[in-house]
Amino acid sequence: MDFALSERQQEVQRAARDYAASTLGPVAAELDRSGRCPAEIVAGVAELGLLGREPDFVAYVAGLVEISKVWASLGAVIAVHTSLVCYPISRYGSDAQKKKYLPLLTEQKQLGCYAFAEPSAGSDAGAIATTAVRDGDQFVLNGHKRFVTSGRQARVAIVYALTDPSKGRDGLSAFIVDTDTCGFSVGEPNDMLGLRATGTVDVLLSDCRIPKGNLLGAMNQGFAIARAIVEGGRIDIAAQAVGIGEACLAHSIAKAKDRKQFGRVIAEFEAIQWMVADMSTEIDAARLLMFRAAGMRAKNPEDGRLTLAASMAKLFASEAANRAAYNAVQIFGGHGYLTEYPVERLFRDARAMTLYEETSEIQRLVIERELAK
């Protein structure tokens, strides 16, 4: 066993930490409030290699933790772009698709988005109603997608649609869609509790015609693709949650050492000591589950144990981040309830972690199913 990151992984981690501290720290709160993620920040993250370029998944995850500590919204943007857009194109894309889209998404620093969920279809992919109908050399897409992170800024979208509605989820196919295609339009930003700078929108597809060459993978392979890439996405969320948890712990320790009540710093009260001890314990455990899953995926993305490891990491880290955020606000007292302090945003952002890339309830279903095998 070896619990230490390699030299190179530490370099990626350090670079992300420095960038987060110097560039993101001063502006994250304000940008989040106004719901903006400026292009120069996306470019800065791309320079770090975190937008689809980092070849070592463990190093990438270590970097993602550092970004998420300071600005969870940006962590979500990075994760969607890397694990849900770049990764499926590089794994399932044709040579022509890879040649056209990967440089756009990496060197040219354009964002990607992922259009899977719909008003009536979340975890239940069988309820997806968006259709793709073949018409000569084109597919014609029609439907309504929800929760599309970076949907407004993205240059490229991965869209799931039914190509054989009689087969339910096994009739789904995945498509690469240029977002400037006629018939692809975005709605108003989803007004969310947290992750407010992720540019999350509804996407409307209205007779959106794309070349037949933009089918990703094979016809009706969409659900299999979604299943195969979801583990990376779940580990990414574990990383964002670990980042949020670590930030909560660090802010809590600093506050407890500084804040005086009844003539002594509140760090001297057992009630506060108990909270930070539990936060530290759970976040450390979450980090280990996350790195174990990440290491497994780095070695072999088709490892049969990865499904269980990724769901455990995602479930545990996201729940631990919420407990940590709850306690951080508690340690800050009334101050924690003010938007002027960072724990207020962490508290709201943490809440998304148990929801997206499927809820904690779905993770438990997956875990139990793997156990009972």
């Binding site: 066993m1 619990f3 530290s280 314990t281 759970e282 455990a285 589950l289 545990f316 309830e361």
Partner: protein, 379 residues
């Protein structure tokens, strides 16, 4: 970074599982019911090297690293926590202290019989009035001629009545609290050593827990273990390492409970289908498995820091705190999944539930662990 155990450790885990299921499990329920010490297992444990797990080969031990030790303790505790407690305390406390602080002579004399299982070891720190607060220790040792004269009482001593080699903590300078504590190696045959009451316990009932009384007990001068007045430093180091063992023990109990609960949920049918198909049951199993896995990784992390010679105090306390609380939660859920059958003495989870509680108390309560962790965090 590689968070998986090596192939050798995987083989060890499998071998330990077979040994535990074949040799330890068969009598576990009866020993628990009768509160009977597992004397018959001592030669078998010794044969497997389990009474000298981390003792180097030159002293007759098996020379395993700390990660392997955690794997061994987990597999034993998965079937019988009382035997795991015997193995853990014998190794980490008594032998661990002698290995850490003993002179070459002391190690040569005392370790081989302990490692070979010819003698069992015990470690005597706790007193009726001094649990987590070692500074309140009242046992005194005074040098009289060529011998230490020790007077006092010890409480909750694992292997208290069956050990032949004891490590005993006593105050050599009562004015200095914990800075006046020293450690001594004491033979069972020492005049003045009397074994007191055997305790009846909620769980780990087959483990031997006894009080000790020292009445003008004369211990040879050269049996001072470590430096005079500096015993407490060694005590803390021994305890920090032992917490990794206690964490592994807790994970073993949690894993045992999970395995039983999963197998029962597949067999048990209600309303026309196995109860495994109900989400309420699935949720409990998923949480048990996830938390056990998290606890296991933390414990292995602490062990591998120890193997690398790096500081591990906070991580070991976190591992012990978390694993023990997982064990109590998981065993409680295991009973819940078994329903009324889990409440019966026939069910192994009934025993696991009682045994798990030990882990939140032994080697420092959960409250002491949180104190240690917070102190490290607020440094």
């Amino acid at each position: 970074m590689n968070l998986e155990i090596s192939d050798d450790q995987q083989i060890l885990k499998q071998a330990m599982r077979e040994f535990a299921e074949g040799e330890i499990l068969p009598g576990a329920a009866d020993r628990d019911e009768e509160a009977r010490f597992p004397s018959e297992l001592i030669p078998k444990l010794a044969e497997q090297g389990l009474l000298g797990i981390m003792i180097p080969d030159e002293y007759g031990g098996a020379g395993y690293d700390a990660v392997s030790a955690a794997i061994i303790l987990e597999e034993i505790a998965r079937v019988d926590a009382a035997v795991a407690l015997l193995v853990g305390s014998h190794n980490s406390l008594c032998s661990g202290h002698i290995l850490l602080a003993g002179s070459d002579d002391q190690k040569r004399v005392y370790l081989p019989p302990l490692a070979r299982g010819e003698k069992l070891g015990a470690w005597a720190l706790t007193e009726p009035g001094s649990g987590s607060d070692a500074g309140a220790m009242r046992t005194r040792a005074t040098l009289e001629g060529d011998a230490w004269l020790i007077r006092g009482d010890k409480q909750f001593i694992t292997q208290g009545s069956t050990a032949e080699t004891y490590v005993v903590m006593a105050s050599t300078d009562p004015s200095k609290g914990t800075r006046g504590i020293s450690a001594f190696i004491v033979d069972r045959t020492t005049p003045g050593l009397a074994v007191g009451k055997l305790e009846k316990k909620l769980g780990v009932r087959a483990s031997d827990t006894a009080a000790l009384h020292f009445d003008e007990m004369r211990v040879p001068r050269e049996n001072l273990l470590g430096k005079l007045h500096e015993g407490f430093k060694d005590v803390l180091a021994v305890l920090a390492a032992a917490r990794i063992g206690m964490a592994a023990l807790a994970i073993g109990i949690a894993q045992g409970a999970l395995d039983e609960a999963l197998s029962y949920a597949k067999r048990r049918r209600q309303f026309g289908k196995p109860i495994l198909e109900y989400e309420a049951i699935q949720w409990m199993l998923a949480d048990m498995a996830t938390e056990s896995e998290a606890a296991r990784l933390m414990t292995w992390h602490a062990a591998s820091l120890r193997d690398a010679g790096e500081p591990f105090l906070r991580i070991a306390s976190q591992a012990k705190l978390y694993s023990s609380e997982v064990a109590t939660r998981s065993t409680s859920k295991a009973i819940q999944i078994h329903g009324g059958y889990g409440y019966l003495k026939d069910s192994p989870v009934e025993r696991f539930y009682r045994d798990a509680k030990l882990c939140e108390i032994g080697e420092g309560t959960s409250e002491v662990q949180r104190m240690v962790i917070a102190r490290e965090l607020f440094r």
